[in-house]
Every structure is written in structure tokens, then in C-alpha cells.
């Protein structure tokens, strides 16, 4: 059986788990390529217009895979921590996909509650059950998948740069270099190193988050807010670069929260959608880098 894995959304964080799980069950894994122009065209053609770019891109990847495999992984990730959510669009992702793209092979629809192991195992049993009836095999695949996932860290922490910024944003905005127009490389070329939220400890994140009136119920908000404000307040970085998609509801809150709490700390927001021109994008990064250097000199 060929299982298609779209290289989009939380693929960048949790792919080792899914890939190991399915290959241990004896499936052949077909991954979509890194996001490219063709996938972007599918994306804007086969997704509701109002959705944000990352969700559209996911649609593009699914469209790319639809005739190349026997089933497609559409992870409906409900939560990864207790009392937190990802985003409403993640909760309804399989429905968005099946109502926007026709002639699909079967897709996975079982909700994923990754906040504890038993609940996650329930997903594995349900979805694995479609592939094999052998419960022991599923359990073994599941355990190995978790082990592979634990070994894996995504994110960046550049060493050896005089200037450093925190690259904030959802994991897929930070890691999909097509979506973010190669922002990491561009910053590096300007002599700026990058650190991402994965390199800030949970305690530091929680310390910042607990100062808020209300604990954010989105995992993205909690992690990005906590890590960014921690790095900024403790002057571990020289600036914040935030990659955000137009129409992202979470970002409209999150960016404001960060702004309200870091004062006049250098903060560059890079908004992207499928029409963002690269020229203007580069100009902004360059101007920001000039500003950081001047601040350092003065």
C-alpha cells in the first residue's frame, strides 16, 4: 500500500512519527516534494479563497499526491498539549480537503489527540487497523514511531553570527522555505543568525506566558509568544522577525500580544500570501538588517 504524506503544515514537526509508523506497517511512503510553483497553483485553485496560505499549500500537496498513492495522510491534529488547541482549520482539515478536491483516494480522518500516549495510540489503532489487523504490529510501529519522533528536533539555532534574530511564526511558516521565500538564507547572507522557538526551554516559555491575564489556548500562541518575549526581554537576540500569512487568525492575536509586551524592540513582520512579490520582501529584510546594524553601532 502506498501512503501519501503531504509535505505541509505540521509535517515539519511530526513527520518522523508518521513516516516511521506507516513504513513499519509495511507501507510505501510517497512524500510530496518541497512546495513549488506547481503546488502553489494547485493550492490557489483547489482551496477556498478565504483560507490562509499554509492551509492552501496543504491542499496543493494533497492534489499533487492524489493520483500517486492509495491513501493520503490528512492529520486532523486536535491538540498536542492538555487544554490547548492547534487551530480550528486543523480540526476541520479532512472536511476542507474532501469538499474541495474531488476523486481523492481514502484520507485519514481520525482525530489526533497527541496530548497523551493512550489517546494517540487510539489514533494509531484506528488508522493502523485500516492497514493491518495485527494489533501487535501496530503497537510496535507506534512505539518505534514515538521513539523516532523524540529523537527529532526541528528548528534552527545558528552559531557564529554577531547579530541574531528570533525567527517567529508557525512551524510551517518558518520551515517551508518556499512559503517564507528563503528567509533564513536571506538573513544569513546579510550576516544575521537565526534562532527558533524550539531552542527555548519550556520553563522559560511558561514563565512568560503565566504573566498574561489568560493562558493562551493555542499551542502556537503559547510557544511563539513565550519564546519570543523571553528571547527579546533577556536580550538573547537583537530583533524579532515574524513570518505570518495573510488571513491567519491566530497571528492577528499573537503579533499584537508580542507587540504589546516587547515595547520598541526591533520587530519585523513579514506577511506572505500566494501573491507576495519577492522584490518588496527582500527590501524589507535588507532595511531591517541595516537598522539592526545601526542600532548596534550607536
Amino acid at each position: 500500500m502506498k501512503v501519501g504524506i503531504p509535505r505541509a503544515l505540521l509535517y515539519y514537526k511530526y513527520n518522523p512519527f508518521f513516516e516511521t509508523f506507516y513504513s513499519e506497517l509495511g507501507c510505501e511512503i510517497i512524500e510530496s516534494p518541497e512546495t513549488n510553483k506547481v503546488i502553489l497553483d494547485y493550492a490557489s485553485k483547489y482551496c477556498v479563497d478565504e483560507a490562509c496560505l499554509p492551509i492552501k499549500i496543504f491542499h496543493g500537496h494533497v492534489y499533487y499526491l492524489k493520483d500517486k498513492c492509495d491513501m493520503i495522510l490528512v492529520p486532523r491534529i486536535m491538540r498536542v498539549n492538555d487544554k490547548e488547541y492547534i487551530c480550528p482549520k486543523f480540526c476541520g482539515l479532512p472536511e476542507m480537503i474532501e469538499n474541495s478536491i474531488y476523486d481523492l483516494p481514502p484520507i485519514t480522518k481520525t482525530p489526533i489527540y497527541a496530548n497523551n500516549k493512550e489517546k494517540l495510540l487510539r489514533w494509531a489503532n484506528r488508522e493502523g487497523g485500516n492497514i493491518t489487523k495485527n494489533k501487535i504490529k501496530i503497537k510496535r510501529a507506534f512505539d518505534n514511531a514515538l521513539r523516532e519522533q523524540e529523537k527529532y528536533t526541528c528548528g534552527v539555532n545558528d552559531e557564529g553570527y554577531k547579530t541574531k534574530v528570533v525567527l517567529a511564526g508557525h512551524p510551517y511558516s518558518v520551515n517551508d522555505s518556499f512559503l517564507n521565500m528563503n528567509v533564513i538564507k536571506k538573513l544569513n547572507n546579510l550576516g544575521i543568525g537565526v534562532i527558533t522557538e524550539e531552542f527555548v526551554s519550556k520553563d522559560d516559555i511558561n514563565y512568560e506566558v503565566d504573566k498574561l491575564f489568560k493562558r493562551p489556548f493555542w499551542t502556537f500562541t503559547k510557544d511563539t509568544y513565550g519564546s519570543t518575549v523571553y528571547l527579546a526581554d533577556n536580550r538573547k537576540v537583537d530583533g524579532i522577525v515574524y513570518v505570518s500569512s495573510f488571513g491567519c487568525g491566530i497571528d492577528s492575536v499573537l503579533i499584537e500580544l508580542i507587540k504589546n509586551n516587547v515595547g520598541d524592540f526591533p520587530f519585523l513582520i513579514l506577511k506572505v500570501d500566494e501573491h507576495t512579490g519577492e522584490v518588496g520582501f527582500n527590501t524589507r529584510i535588507e532595511a531591517f538588517s541595516d537598522m539592526l546594524l545601526r542600532r548596534k553601532l550607536s
Binding site: 482551496c47 477556498v48 478565504e50 483560507a51 486532523r76 486536535m78 487544554k83 488547541y85 492547534i86 487551530c87 480550528p88 482549520k89 480540526c91 476541520g92 472536511e95 476542507m96 469538499n99 474541495s100 482525530p111 498574561l212 491575564f213 489568560k214 493562551p216 489556548f217 493555542w218 500562541t221 495573510f246 488571513g247 491567519c248 487568525g249 491566530i250 497571528d251 492577528s252 492575536v253 503579533i255 499584537e256 500580544l257 504589546n260
Partner: protein
């Protein structure tokens, strides 16, 4: 303490009755209007959703009338509404308004003790006895149920009434009148009278009006200003309106959700298309669309604020529902830039479409 609160459809009638009963001073912000929206859009993050912006306008207008405490509700996500209070507090603080916020979040999100503490902030400000306080709260509930009921009846009657515009007139005069009364018992009494009055509007059952279901994000469908008074317009066209979500529905739904028994019919109806809770009222939107067909609607209009996350999910599902049920569905997205001309053209064209389908006549007009 002088309390203000955001507008949300008919809730201010209930809030007024409750505060009158509690003997707590309050400032009802002016009904949502352009000024509130302008103020709100000016001070809110640009990509924030419309309800947030109008609410900021309400708060500031309420504060200008002397309020020092803002009363609002919360939610535990995953839609943005749950995060409103945090940002709104920041915005008002930055503007230099020294106000207290009392946020009613669900007890299960903030803990029962914290919830009771927040309730006590209100009850301590009232000099009335416990029994009187409970009665005041109950009167508030009665008011919201009655006024939503009257509105619901008027929304159906307007399609069948013999004297065109009568139901709307009664509804409007009802709202005007009870707003001017400061005695909660009297308000409840007058509402009962109005309910009888609207029920006795003479109708012609031979009429075959178009019936439209209104679904979508609860604030934008229940707060008339935010949807450019779509229901007023539909009533003028003699169209029957069915809308399930309203402030009274919200109260009931919130209470029932404590035992997970809320809106079973809607949840059941949505199961085929969207089996899970996705935040906001995305699932309700899909469920109601299915129910609308069963209840005889000719078409459904979905309304939501630009960028609304749960409704974007339901919007992508509705075309399939529409096809399966053979019932037209139109989506209207509202924000502070919505132009009335194009908006009205689409509503009119949609009604034409429904009319023609119904009469199966290529070229007839209403």
C-alpha cells in the same frame, strides 16, 4: 461601580433589566453604529475580526458615558473570541482608560472558584438581598427569551402578513418601548403583551413566501449592525427568516454544554459533514444548513466576519451540502470595508434566484 458591556443583538435589553433589578449603575453604549465601528477599527489590529472592532467601539462609547467596569464573556477557543479580553484590556489600557474587566469564562476553563469570584464582583456591588439578586438574573433571562421569541415570530409573520410591514412595525415599537422602561417586572409584562400582539397579526396563508435560513458566525448574524441589517431588508421583501442562533440560544447552549447536551439536533444534523467541534459555531453552521432544508427553507445565507477561522472551514463544506440537498447557499463576508451596494445586489439577486426556482418561471419577478 458603573458597568458597561458590548452589544450583541438583543442582549442589552436583558442586561438592562438585570442591572435595574440589581440596583447597579450601568451605561448602555449607543446601539452599534458607524461611529462605534470607526473607533473600533482605528484602535484594533487590522486583521482582527469584525466583532472585536465593534466591541472596542462599544467599550469606548460606554466609558465616555461614565462606565468604569467592562463586563464581557470569554471562551476557551479555539476561535479568536476567547482571546478578545486579553487584547482588549491592553488596548484600553494603552489609551489611558482606567477600567476593570470582568470576564465570564466557562467555569471549566478558569476553575469554579475563580468563576464564583468573578460573579461576586458583580453581586457585591448590589445592595439587594440574595433572593432579589437571583430574581434580577432570572428577569434578565426572561427578557432575552421573550424578545428573541418575539423577533422569531415576526421573522415568520412578515412573509404572510396581510398588511405589509405590520410585523416589523410591531417589533420596532416593542424594542423602542421596552428600552424606555426601567422596571424589570414592567418590561416582562409589556413583552408578554407584545408577544400576544405579534401573534395576532392577521396573515394570509395562501401566500407562498420565500423562506431563507440565516447561518454562520453567531455575532455577525445576531448583531444587526454587523450584517448591514440584512434581516430588516429581508422582512421588507416579505421573506420569512429562520435563524437559530441568538443570544437566548447562546445562553441555553452554554448552560447545556456543561453536561454535553447542547443543541443535539444541530450536532446530529452536521455529523455527516463535520463530525467534530472545531471552535466558534462552525459545526452549528453546517448542522443548521441541513436543518434549514428539513424545515422548509428555500435557501440559506451564511454570514461571517472576514478571516473567521471556523466559518472558513464550514464555507468549504457548504457547497457539498448545498449540492446534496439541492438548496442554494450564499456566503456573505462582512468587515469594516463591506460596501452596501454590492452587498444588497447579491442579496436581491439571491432572492430572485430563489423566487425563480420556486415558481419555476424563467422570467417572473417578485
Amino acid at each position: 461601580m458603573k458597568v458597561t458591556f458590548p452589544h450583541f443583538g438583543n442582549t442589552f435589553f436583558a442586561a438592562k433589566a438585570a442591572f435595574d433589578g440589581l440596583g447597579i449603575d450601568y451605561a448602555v453604549p449607543p446601539l452599534c453604529n458607524k461611529e462605534a465601528l470607526e473607533i473600533g477599527s482605528y484602535y484594533s489590529p487590522e486583521e482582527m475580526c469584525l466583532p472585536f472592532k465593534i466591541m472596542i467601539g462599544n467599550y469606548i462609547q460606554g466609558i465616555k458615558e461614565g462606565a468604569d467596569t467592562v463586563l464581557t464573556t470569554g471562551s476557551c477557543g479555539p476561535c479568536r473570541f476567547g482571546e478578545y479580553c486579553e487584547l482588549q484590556m491592553d488596548i484600553l489600557k494603552k489609551l489611558g482608560y482606567d477600567v476593570d474587566f470582568i470576564v465570564f469564562d466557562a467555569p471549566k476553563a478558569i476553575g469554579k472558584e475563580e468563576f464564583l469570584r468573578r460573579v461576586s464582583l458583580i453581586s457585591n456591588a448590589s445592595s439587594k438581598s440574595n433572593n432579589e439578586q437571583i430574581e434580577a438574573a432570572l428577569n434578565g433571562l426572561k427578557v432575552i427569551n421573550l424578545i428573541d421569541d418575539i423577533e422569531k415570530i415576526a421573522h415568520i409573520k412578515c412573509g404572510y402578513e396581510i398588511n405589509k410591514g405590520e410585523s416589523k412595525k410591531i417589533l420596532n415599537s416593542c424594542k423602542r418601548e421596552i428600552y424606555s422602561i426601567n422596571n424589570p417586572e414592567e418590561v416582562v409584562k409589556r413583552l408578554h403583551e407584545y408577544k400576544r400582539k405579534i401573534k395576532s397579526v392577521p396573515i394570509d396563508l395562501n401566500k407562498k413566501p420565500i423562506t431563507v435560513g440565516i447561518v454562520g458566525e453567531i455575532y455577525t448574524i445576531a448583531e444587526p449592525f454587523s450584517n448591514l441589517y440584512i434581516e430588516d431588508k429581508l422582512m421588507d421583501y416579505g421573506v420569512c427568516i429562520k435563524r437559530k442562533l441568538s443570544p437566548s440560544w447562546w445562553v441555553k447552549n452554554t448552560i447545556m454544554s456543561a453536561i454535553n447536551m447542547q443543541s443535539l439536533d444541530i450536532r446530529l444534523a452536521s455529523r455527516k459533514y463535520l463530525p467534530l467541534y472545531i471552535g466558534g459555531h462552525g459545526r452549528e453552521c453546517v448542522g443548521e444548513t441541513v436543518l434549514s432544508k428539513r424545515e422548509g427553507c428555500d435557501g440559506v445565507i451564511q454570514i461571517f466576519p472576514l478571516g473567521c477561522m471556523p466559518e472558513i472551514v464550514s464555507k468549504s463544506i457548504l457547497p457539498t451540502v448545498s449540492k446534496d440537498l439541492n438548496m442554494p447557499v450564499m456566503t456573505l463576508i462582512v468587515d469594516e470595508m463591506t460596501g452596501e451596494t454590492g452587498y444588497m445586489t447579491r442579496i436581491e439577486a439571491f432572492l430572485d434566484l430563489l423566487e425563480r426556482r420556486k415558481s419555476n418561471n424563467v422570467l417572473s419577478w417578485s
